[in-house]
């Protein structure tokens, strides 16, 4: 993890859409009065949803004014959490887990595929701006290692060929099927169950 780069190309203007504005107001109402600052994270996430999965500086200022807190306080939060993107990401945003269990199971093969197919450097857009990739820390799916996340979906039990397939699909703007790629049912053992045999619904 190094410090996030802030995009040099920034939009001039940001405003919540009607729908998001209502959502934002609802989120703020969950917090006690004068503690609206607590809503900064859900609001940043709303911004990210509205603005092609990244947060421009104007949006941070917008939120700061929205919540009546100093700019730097929003900026601190946005730079702290890795799920907030501060520069444009592709329509398909690939996050490859490289923490120990995935690494042992061959995460760097996935990284190599991303490097080859999407872009040499992480956090940069592919040629046609359709995809970008980044290494991330544990995504909590170690049982299905190695895995990656594309937008909101997990793609698990990968190997080099399957990753190539998936990346090829997203580069052609097709939605690949999420889930295990070795036909496992969520995190269950691959063939037969070997433990907890006396419990029916385990």
């Amino acid at each position: 993890m190094s410090i996030k780069k802030i995009s040099k190309e920034q939009p001039e203007f940001f405003k919540f859409s009607e729908e998001n504005l209502n959502k934002a107001k609802k989120i703020i109402s969950k917090y006690p009065t004068e503690k609206q600052a607590s809503a900064v994270m859900p609001l940043l996430y709303l911004v990210q949803g509205q603005n092609e999965n990244w947060i421009p500086l104007v949006a941070m200022k917008y939120i700061a004014k929205f919540l009546n807190i100093p700019y730097i306080r929003v900026y601190e939060v946005a730079t702290f959490y890795s799920m907030f993107n501060l520069s444009p990401v592709g329509k398909y945003f690939v996050q490859v887990c490289t923490t120990t269990p995935c690494m042992i199971r061959g995460a760097y093969k996935i990284v190599d595929v991303c490097k080859e197919k999407i872009c040499e450097n992480q956090k940069e857009l592919s040629k046609d701006n359709i995809a970008s990739w980044t290494e991330v820390e544990c995504l909590g799916a170690c049982v299905n290692a190695p895995m990656m996340q594309i937008n909101d979906d997990y793609f698990e039990d990968l190997d080099k060929e399957k990753t190539e397939e998936i990346i090829e699909m997203i580069l052609n703007d097709k939605q690949p099927k999420p889930g295990s790629y070795r036909n496992r049912k969520s995190a269950e053992p691959e063939n037969k169950r070997t433990t907890l045999l006396n419990i029916k619904n385990a």
Partner: protein
């Protein structure tokens, strides 16, 4: 009162103290980086670890409240090992650039690593490096050296009241920065330099100028505003290299304003080091004999009633005292004035021109009403106290007139004198609040005293407070915010001429060009149309006063002489000589004494010591240093006798970085001003 044991010694402490404070009281010194008495507790440097009985791990003493029965050990092997480990981790990413670091010699990390540092590093990995951040013209940053103590963030947020510094990123990559690297927009910004325990934030104007052990330290008093902050002047030979705050809990606590700190380079520029005489419209270098002779000839050929003396903003008590004596005895003139514009003054009582609640008293206040004042610019340190009071007690602050951006929220309740009338008559909601509050604080600014309605506002507010028993020996809520260091002293010594009819007699006569000889004692801010007056300017800097002068008598600046100053609370403090006057310039009292000798009307002053003694004797208020008067109840006047004047109240914006000749000569102040103006032009709002 909890009792606890520190290093086998039992002590009793106040409720609510931290273990660190308790250890200090027991005489055990605890190393620390993030902890600071005046800031909130962060507990993130872990240097203050101590051992506590029944705790398996050492505890962070700064973040633990001391409670009954604790058994603390600060000198065990375990503690030492824990601290050594913390230090090793801090040093893992800290560069070894002490030889080129300005903090060297006064660096907490350097000092503490003498005790807790390992002699060699076990880390073979690469050190973290962080880009320099821009923080304005005063703060030089070297963020690789930062140890993330967050003192600067806490200072900016809590004391300065500007949320501009923050920590971005996280973990090892955490970086301290201002929002998008904008200059810090605060009058107290440079205090983060003192707070920084390492060399991450250092002084830009002082960069690579000197090492702390080469400097001579003199503890003295600041004159940039009327607060009278206690400072330490560091000199290298003649040159004043830097100014640092000296702790005085009653006045400036640990802070000083940027102007106090950085106007010192103005002491080297634009200095008058030789007497000058104007010949054919040009100022020509001369010598003392000729200059004094010319002054004496002029004095002898002018009627006493046509001679006037004006006192500047930075003049000390001794000079004013001898100047008055010189005018009264040697020249037989009483035309003396310290005000540079028509500012209402009522010298009947001493409380009429003081900040009576005292600076410490601000913290006790339960309501603050600002009338025509912008304390942030007029007295930055005092403003920090108001903020402290606001943060501590969440008091309500009202303002009459729009002061612009302050460092705490306030409510504007009006823009003209009719609001004051409403308050006095009791028809305004604030009126009731003042009556009901125990310790209200009413601050009247100079913008009001300069307006037409000055007398009305002054008298009726005072009357209102007297009537409601808000001026009593326990609490005096009536405050005047003076802006200039010399003013309260001048009022104490009576360097003004007020008649029943005319509050501004000397100034009126000056504007009507009734004087033939004008003696400016460091007075630069005086605005008048010069006709055929002969002007003597005695001062330290070639500024506005010198440019209109016919004779210039060079004198010492505030760091170059011993002298008393009275601050806005009426507290008398002595400033000490840190440097010496440049060239042929002399101290003010010497020059005046000389002239009186040559006039054959010698004043009975033998030497500086004699002058000081006579000054202190002349006014029984001065018999004790740092003395503050507690005045008795003031008498009530009939409200109906004060005529109501309806006028708009505007708060005059002062040119904060350019208020006196020393600031105007300072390059750093000019830079600050430029940055501030650019800020306004480009705007920071998105």
């Amino acid at each position: 009162m909890p009792k606890l044991i520190v290093n086998d010694k039992e002590i009793e402490i106040e409720e609510g103290l931290t273990v660190l404070q308790a250890c200090e009281q027991a005489g055990a010194e605890i190393p620390r980086f993030c902890y600071h008495e005046k800031l909130s507790i962060a507990g993130n440097c872990r240097m203050c670890l101590v051992e506590m009985e029944k705790s398996a791990k050492p505890i962070a003493s700064c973040a633990t409240t001391a409670t009954e029965g604790m058994n603390i050990k600060t000198n065990t092997l375990k503690v030492e090992k824990a601290r050594k480990n913390v230090m090793e981790l801090l040093l893992a990413n800290h560069p070894l650039d002490c030889p080129v670091c300005d903090q060297g010699g006064e660096c907490d990390l350097q000092d503490q690593s003498m005790f807790y540092g390992l002699d060699l590093s076990r880390f073979t990995e690469k050190k973290r490096s962080v880009k320099k951040k821009y923080m304005g013209p005063l703060i030089k940053t070297e963020m690789t050296r930062c140890i993330h103590c967050t003192r600067c963030i806490r200072f900016a947020t809590e004391v300065a009241g500007i949320d501009e510094i923050g920590a971005i990123g996280r973990g090892e990559d955490m970086q301290i920065t201002t929002y998008l690297e904008k200059a810090m927009e605060s009058e107290l910004s440079a205090n983060v330099i003192d707070l920084c325990p390492v060399g991450a934030l250092t002084s830009k104007p002082y960069a690579f100028e000197a090492r702390p052990w080469e400097l001579k330290n003199t503890e003295t008093i600041d004159v940039m505003d009327a607060v009278g902050s206690n400072i330490r002047v560091d000199t290298y030979g003649w040159e004043v290299k830097r100014i640092l705050p000296k702790i005085n809990e009653d006045i400036n606590e640990e802070w000083i304003s940027d102007k106090t700190r950085y106007a010192c380079d103005g002491l080297l520029k634009q200095r008058l080091d030789k007497p000058y005489i104007r010949e054919n419209g040009k100022l020509i270098k001369s010598n003392w004999t000729d200059a004094v002779q010319l002054v004496i000839n002029k004095i002898k050929n002018t009627k006493p009633s046509q001679i006037a003396g004006f006192i500047g903003d930075l003049v000390d008590l001794e000079s004013m005292y001898i100047f008055k004596k010189f005018f009264n005895k040697s020249l037989n003139s009483t035309n003396l004035e310290f005000r540079n514009e028509k500012r209402y003054l009522n010298p009947d009582e001493r409380i009429n021109y003081l900040f009576n609640s005292t600076i410490n008293g601000i913290e006790e206040a339960d309501l603050i009403l600002l009338i025509g004042t912008n304390p942030r610019q007029e007295a930055a340190i005092l403003n920090a106290r108001i903020r402290k009071s606001y943060v501590k007690n969440k008091i309500k602050i009202y303002s009459i007139g729009d002061p612009g951006e302050l460092t705490y929220p306030y409510e504007i309740i009006g823009h003209d004198t009719s609001v004051i009338k409403d308050i006095i008559e009791g028809s305004h909601h604030v009126s009731l609040k003042i009556k009901n509050s125990e310790k209200p604080l009413i601050i009247i600014g100079e913008s009001i005293l300069n307006s037409d309605a000055a007398e009305y506002i002054f008298k009726s507010i005072k009357n209102f407070l007297t009537k409601n028993d808000k001026i009593n020996p326990n609490w005096n809520s009536f405050n005047i915010l003076t802006q200039r260091a010399s003013n309260v002293g001048a009022m104490d010594l009576g360097l003004y001429k007020i008649t029943k009819k005319d509050n501004y007699e000397v100034l009126n006569k000056l504007n009507n060009n009734e004087f033939k000889l004008i003696y400016l004692l460091g007075a630069d801010e005086l605005k008048f149309n010069k006709k055929d007056e002969f002007i003597i300017y005695q001062g330290s800097h070639g500024d506005k006063g010198a440019s209109i002068a016919d004779v210039i008598l060079p004198s010492a600046a505030y760091t170059e002489k011993d002298g008393y100053y009275v601050n806005l609370e009426g507290r008398i403090q002595k400033a000490f000589k840190a440097s010496y006057p440049p060239g042929e310039s002399k101290e003010d009292w010497e020059i005046i004494n000389n002239i009186s000798q040559f006039l054959n009307k010698r004043l009975d002053i033998i030497n500086k010591f004699d002058l000081e003694t006579k000054l202190i004797k002349s006014n029984n208020l001065y018999s004790k240093e740092s003395y503050i008067t507690k005045e008795k109840n003031s008498s009530e006047i009939n409200q109906s006798k004060i005529p109501f004047i309806n006028s708009k109240l505007e708060i005059k914006q002062i040119d904060y970085y350019f208020t006196n000749p020393i600031c105007r000569a300072s390059k750093t102040m000019l830079e600050c001003k430029t940055v501030k103006n650019n800020f306004k032009l480009t705007g920071t709002e998105g």
